[in-house]
Amino acid sequence: MSDSTHTGPMLAADGTTLKSSLNRALRRQKLRALMLIAPLLIFVLVTFIAPIADMLFRSVENQIVSDTLPRTTQMLGDWDADAADIPAPQVFEALYVDMFIATERKLHTRLGSRLNYELTGVSSLFRKSGRKVEDMGEVYQDQFEDLDKFWKKGANLNALFGAPDWQAAQAAWDTSDKKAQPKFKLRSGLETVLPQASEAFDVYARFTQGEDGKNLSKAKPWALIYSALYNDLVAQPAGLAALDAPGADELRAAAARVGDFDTVDFTAAFKKIDKDWVSQDVWRVIKTYSPRFTNGYFLNSIDMKKTADGPQMRAENEQLYIKLFIRTLFMSLVITGSCILLGYPVAWILANLPAKTANLLMILVLLPFWTSLLVRTSAWKVMLQQQGVINDTLVWLGLVADDSRLALINNQTGTIIAMTHILLPFMILPLFSVMKTIPPSYLRAAKSLGATNWTAFWRVYFPQSVPGIGAGSILVFILSIGYYITPEIVGGTTGTFISNRIAYHISSSLNWGLAAALGAILLAVVLGLYWAYDRIVGIDNVKLGG
């Protein structure tokens, strides 16, 4: 630097700057390296990261409400959830249309179970309503059919609503045995004259041909179409007079008469199914959960409730999850601590014995590791229960009275004992491999310089074994935070973890959204602790060996 007179950038042989030339060479190398690991990377992404991301995404996903009740949720936008009245009659009519379609597609009960997580009783309300909603609009169908036999036949409606070229295709398909049914096409211009009926018929036709897989020529039209038709005709559409289609005359005749038709009060009809429909609670829940994404699951998993007036704490006797999170963290710490206390001396002995004996003892450490987790946990049950081996021995020795045997299982003690045993190898192995690398001469040197046994250990040996403790603790802590089989079997009521609730919501209550939210929080907590560990101890200070 001092004797150089050249101040410009250093150049490579081809005249480009050395820096960019080097970069290019390195980039090529990096690309090659990336290609080498690409199969593994893709494998990990597809089979590991993507499913986890998908599962965690469920914690905010909430499309089911607006997908199943699109018209209702849209109409509900104007409804004031704080007001004392129930939604307007138009909302109930929209609900009728949505429920009718959802019932045909068998989606209404699915939505019912989704909303039942938020408000008890919605599940049966939807199941019940689904059964009755089909008959709700039949009044209109009957009146149309009484007016003219024309309205009884599905084929007549197909001719009225279907585009002529589709009708020809359908007729040709009907007599042949080809696989794919020609897709229904609406008569052009009809949606301006009969907007609601056209939409209803279109939904009906697409469902019949698609999901239901039935022949549209032979299907029986939904009652929904007739109530939509009534709504259209009662408005006396301007284009009706000029409409040219099969059945246009019957339409015009009906339009002249619909004024005298009996009508259906949908609010009353829903109230007749269940008075819950005219209570604000149900509507508040539907409105609160209308958006496509929700923070409701996350609020539930921290013992809060999403209401129309914003998040609120749950009642004292329903709070559970925060307590479980704290318990999980606390007990995992205790288990990690007892693993250090028990594992450290064992690892020390293993590291300082002659290789032959050490290997033999190592097998003893690993042997339980190779035994099934369930077998080990069940064995602890036999050992720890009140009529079990340990209590029997204590009673026989006279240390414990027969009528006051120790409660060692179905509580926190049981979980801590069993999990410490199960996770001990994860502590011993990293400790052992780190201790193996500490030269025994250091201790001898310390002692020859006048250190006592304790000082030599504490000031010289122990600091060098800390990376092993760090690695073992991280392994044990993170493993134990997610354990659920062992706490389920030996934990009773006070020794269960948050994972037990996650398992319950995945496999039993089917509330996957809540399970995902709990899982996401758990993951965040673990990452947060890992970050804190890195800041305090330093992740470079962790060694699994060498």
């Binding site: 989606l107 009960t109 039942n116 008890t120 009783g121 559970l320 009773g492 009521t493 609730r501 209550s509």
Partner: protein
């Protein structure tokens, strides 16, 4: 030459495997003695009759979650699934199980009674084909209860007369009902009381009187084991488990037939099967739930057949040779005071009450 041969052989094997797969049918059940009884009563005769190879999968405990996952993945690998009635209702609600028309898709009774009448009100869901009636009831150690063996379910709350631990299932269902019954609520009013927050608190308060004396179980095998070890004086479990504990393992245990909760177990067919698999599953169901087959199962396990017409055909145990009728939950002598599980109620209140129950347990 060698390569061609290998290729030919591989192709032949693949084709053979393909045929074998076509004749396989996966039936999901609970495992243990229960699956064994189904194998003897249904699977083996059906395989002998049709040549279909039946694969037993023991995943019924997680059936609902697994079926949902399979359905989302668009690859349902199960053909027929054995579930309890409440799970069948949920599967039906979620659109994961196929709806069944009892009269056309199930066999009529031998005297021609249509299936819908033969099963009667046990057809609790459109998708559910009942198979057995079981009850959740109490067993007690005859050597630990003194000279006055319990005759009423309320003995579980009587720690004075019957000191010692008792085992109850770690969920609100059944326990809440028993608590209210023993707190003086009339049987007909139990679910009306349980609908209200006060009623739920009342049941929990009653359970709180014995909270320190309860071992909570989550697997059906727990209570029999706890009874055999003398860990508990009495405990709730399924009557079939108690039967094998008492009659097969000859443990000093007796059964308490009082306010036992009647429940149903049966088949569902997953939604979204191919036409061919659906037809085979229906054919199996038609065979396996006819009057004789349901009665046959009772030879191997003490659960009552779900058809009225099967009851008179129940015979003796296949290996023990004892009369099975007196061990059936449906036997008039045992069914004097039964409690009927309310499916609709629990479908609605399960999530809510379970949250409260778990919070109460954690306190």
């Amino acid at each position: 030459m060698k390569l061609t041969k290998t290729l030919l052989a591989t192709t032949a094997l693949t084709v053979a495997a393909g045929f074998a797969v076509a004749e396989d049918m996966t039936i999901v059940s609970w495992g243990g003695a229960y699956s064994a009884s189904q194998k003897a009563a249904y699977h083996d005769p059906y395989s002998a009759k049709t040549g279909v190879n039946i694969i037993n999968d023991e995943s019924s405990a997680e059936a609902v979650a697994k079926l949902r996952a399979m359905n989302e993945a668009g690859n349902v690998t199960w053909d027929v699934v054995d579930v309890v009635a409440s799970d069948a209702m949920r599967l039906c609600d979620e659109g994961l199980a196929m709806e069944i028309d009892a009269d056309t898709q199930l066999a009529p009774a031998p005297d021609g009674t249509p299936a819908s009448e033969d099963f009667g009100e046990l057809l609790v869901s459109d998708c559910f084909i009942p198979q057995i009636v079981y009850s959740t009831t109490f067993g007690y150690r005859t050597d630990l209860v003194g000279s006055t063996p319990p005759t009423s379910v309320c003995a579980i709350f009587d720690t004075q007369t019957y000191p010692g631990k008792r085992s109850l299932e770690k969920r609100p269902i059944n326990n809440m009902e028993w608590a209210l019954l023993c707190d003086g609520v009339a049987k007909a009013d139990v679910y009306d009381v349980l609908e209200t927050a006060e009623g739920q608190q009342r049941a929990l308060d009653k359970l709180a009187t014995i909270k320190d004396d309860v071992v909570w179980w989550s697997a059906g095998a727990d209570t029999p084991q706890l009874l055999a070890d003398g860990e508990v004086v009495m405990g709730s479990t399924y009557n079939g488990r108690l039967f094998s504990l008492i009659e097969e393992q000859k443990q000093p245990v007796a059964m308490l037939w009082d306010a036992q909760v009647f429940d149903l177990d049966g088949w569902i067919i997953p939604a979204g099967l191919s036409d061919e698999r659906k037809a085979r599953a229906l054919d199996y169901i038609m065979f396996a739930t006819d009057t004789q087959r349901l009665a046959d199962q009772a030879k191997y396990i003490s659960y009552g057949p779900a058809r009225a017409s099967s009851a008179p055909l129940v015979g003796k145990h296949a290996t023990l040779g004892i009369d099975m009728a007196p061990h059936m939950p449906t036997d008039p002598e045992n069914a004097k005071n039964t409690f009927l599980y309310n499916y609709e109620f629990w479908a609605d209140y399960r999530d809510d009450i379970d949250a409260k129950f778990q919070a109460w347990l954690a306190q």
